[in-house]
């Protein structure tokens, strides 16, 4: 956001050539520095700096970790490696938290009592929570490699997927490649026109203007006259009326570009930026078999330390230790356990309701973070019509329908059996509205909306499963939402150690809602905890 604002400002004020060169020089220098430093592990995109090493011994101390999600399991893994006795309490009957996959036979009971049983065919799944792993997220990639969790490419951007608006092209979805080619092409042509009319003479030198024209020809697929027109060059980006082939019918027929007015008015260019952020750039990955494999990997390493079905009811610390009361959710038995220190990864939406004696600044930080609404809906169809009929292999279709997007599976390409796609992934007000419906009604609506893009929905639909995150019993929402004001007032306080108690999780990070936030937060927390133990002697 800040970069965009700065750049807009420069554009308006008219950047001189010197400023332009200076800016390019700075960014080139930055890139060079980053490339030089990356092999040393000092300039990773997240704060992950490689494996941590907690030297000096655990002094016989025990740490109680609350929550068996990724933050809790990273804490348990690194603390136990350093020699600490570790005990983990987990509310669910499984580990992993939001690193979670729903596949055939799995059940999910949401708040309100509705239970869904996933009916997907073997091999099909959805990830109700996080679902992709950017290259930027070196911490998670590190643990996946260490714990034997296989990764495969996630198709974030698919040029053959659709951009769809109910208000453009009569609601007919457009191929991403077509809109991007025409958008880039027309913008290039317009800018080239401005250069040739010397409209930019006060900001771009004659020499740079020539360079700019060549770059625009390349960027926009312009012809020799700097026009974006029907041609082999434009068709090789936006698609052909008849593609090239072999033999007698080999001659390709280019397609006619949309005019600039149509492209601009469609608003579909809005969706092109979404794939450009660091966290969505290729290469981007997913665990083979779903995000649940991350949970399984950690479980192999620390599963024996985790007590499941344990609902924390009170956390009390004193000068000498921390005591946690909890209920076994299966037996109803009231239990208690103690340790020298506590790392708490319980979502703040839940922790805010648990009696806990900490100082006023931490107490107020815990109550300051609302949880984001979101809904994901997985739909299974009799066949992969998106592949068979429309040549869409993975990737994402964006739409202004309430479902927001359709994501096609980045695995099992070409398989003939039933296929599962992500039929809705929402934020904002529609998430509450969908969450308020019964699971069957959510699925019914997702099928109805999706059929506007893929009419095959109507005849091929088999079954679906939905997760409205505010009805997830162990998070009461999707992830913690921070804003500038709450960051300034509460973030540092939330992360500070309070006596023998400290907080970790995606909510205690600047990578909210991503597993990398949970990992970097946990590593930071256990590092400081270990330092405290060393200083205490």
């Amino acid at each position: 956001m800040d970069d965009t604002a700065d750049f807009s400002h420069d554009s308006n004020s008219g950047m001189t050539k010197r400023q332009l060169l200076s800016m390019i020089g700075k960014s080139a220098g930055g890139t060079a520095m980053l490339m030089a430093m990356a092999p040393l592990g000092q300039a990773q995109a997240s704060t992950f700096k490689g494996p941590i090493s907690l030297e000096g011994g655990a002094r016989g101390k025990k740490v109680l970790v609350l929550g068996g999600g990724v933050a809790g399991m990273v804490s348990a893994l690194e603390l136990s490696r350093a020699g600490y006795a570790v005990e983990v309490l987990e509310y669910n009957d499984r580990v992993g938290g939001r690193a979670w996959t729903l596949k055939g036979g799995d059940t999910f009971t949401e708040l309100g009592g509705a239970t869904q049983t996933c009916e997907f065919a073997p091999g099909n799944y959805i990830n109700p929570g996080p679902w992709r792993i950017p290259t930027e997220h070196g911490g998670l990639i590190h643990y996946c490699q260490q714990l034997g969790v296989g990764l495969e490419p996630f198709q974030q951007q698919n040029y053959n997927a659709y951009l769809h608006s109910t208000a453009a092209f009569g609601g007919v979805p457009q191929r991403y490649k077509t809109i991007q080619a025409d958008y880039y092409g027309h913008v290039s042509e317009l800018l080239a026109k401005a250069v040739r009319q010397n409209a930019l003479a006060d900001t771009v030198s004659a020499e740079d203007g020539e360079i700019l024209l060549e770059s625009l020809r390349s960027w926009g697929a312009l012809d020799r006259n700097m026009r974006y027109v029907k041609s082999d060059a434009s068709a090789s980006r936006r698609g052909w009326d008849k593609g090239p082939g072999g033999g007698l019918t080999a001659v390709p027929i280019p397609s006619e570009p949309l005019d600039a007015h149509t492209v601009l008015q469609s608003g579909l260019w809005r969706n092109i930026g979404g794939h450009l952020s660091n966290e969505h750039q290729h290469a981007i990955f997913q665990p083979v078999g779903g995000m649940g494999q991350i949970a399984a990997g950690f479980e192999r390493a620390v599963g024996h330390m985790i007590r499941r079905n344990s609902k924390v009811t009170e956390i009390r610390q004193s000068d000498s230790g921390v005591t946690v009361n909890f209920v076994d959710t299966k037996s109803g038995e009231r239990l208690s356990t103690s340790a020298d220190y506590c790392v708490c990864t319980i979502p703040l939406s839940v922790l805010a309701q648990i009696p806990l004696n900490v100082g006023p600044t931490l107490a107020s930080a815990i109550t300051a973070v609302p949880y984001r609404p979101s809904v994901k809906i997985g739909l299974e169809f009799k066949r992969r019509f998106w592949e068979q009929d429309e040549s869409i292999y993975g990737g994402i279709t964006s739409t202004d329908l309430p479902i927001s997007q359709i994501s096609y599976p980045s695995y099992g390409y070409g398989s003939q059996g039933p296929g599962v796609l992500l039929g809705a992934y929402t934020g904002g007000a529609i998430s509450y509205e969908l969450t308020a419906q019964s699971p069957a009604e959510r699925v019914r609506r997702a099928v109805e909306w999706g059929a506007e893009i893929h009419p095959q929905y109507r005849s091929e639909f088999m079954n679906g499963i939905s997760v409205g995150w505010h009805r997830v019993p162990w998070t009461l929402g999707c992830f913690g939402m921070w804003n500038e004001q709450t960051r300034a007032t509460h973030y540092q306080n939330l992360c500070q150690m309070d006596g023998r108690f400290m907080i970790a999780g995606e909510h205690a990070s600047y990578i909210g809602g991503w597993i990398e936030g949970a990992i970097t937060s946990a590593l930071d927390a256990v590092g400081r905890l270990h330092q405290r133990v060393q200083q205490a002697g």
Partner: protein, 138 residues
């Protein structure tokens, strides 16, 4: 339109798109691994409709709340609704993990949904909240 005006317009639309994106991700400085543009306003013209399309997601259609690792309080027969200012404030500002609804509801919708809850589900408070009162609490 000259080129400077065009660029200014483009810059303005980029800023607007950014603002919309920020709203869509509901004030999160970092949006997380989350969906993009989605409707940000609740389309409901009665207190009942707002309740069933928004509040019921957590407090449940029968206002009985729910309990998991944490709780959603029941709004049914809830004595804390006695002073209308409290529910008005919580709807607008949120509480603990409950997000503020101020960006999704206009003042009339806030007043209507508070009045609806305070006169249904076993609650029977006679005094009405107004859009003006909601506006004052923003």
């Amino acid at each position: 339109m000259n080129i400077k005006q065009s660029i200014a317009l483009l810059a303005a639309s980029v800023t607007l798109a950014g603002a919309l994106a920020a709203t869509a991700t509901a004030q999160s400085a970092v949006s997380g691994d989350a969906a993009s543009a989605a409707p940000t306003a609740v389309a409901a013209d009665t207190g009942e409709a707002t309740y069933q399309n928004l509040c019921a997601a957590c407090h449940m259609p029968d206002a009985m709340g729910a309990a998991g690792a944490g709780n959603y309080p029941a709004l049914a027969s809830n004595p804390r609704l006695i002073a209308k200012g409290y529910p008005l404030y919580v709807v607008l500002k949120g509480k603990n993990g409950m997000p503020p609804m101020a960006d999704m509801l206009d003042d009339q919708q806030v007043a209507d949904v508070v009045n609806y809850v305070r006169t249904h589900f076993g609650n029977a408070y006679a005094d009405q909240a107004t859009a003006t009162e909601a506006a004052q609490l923003r």
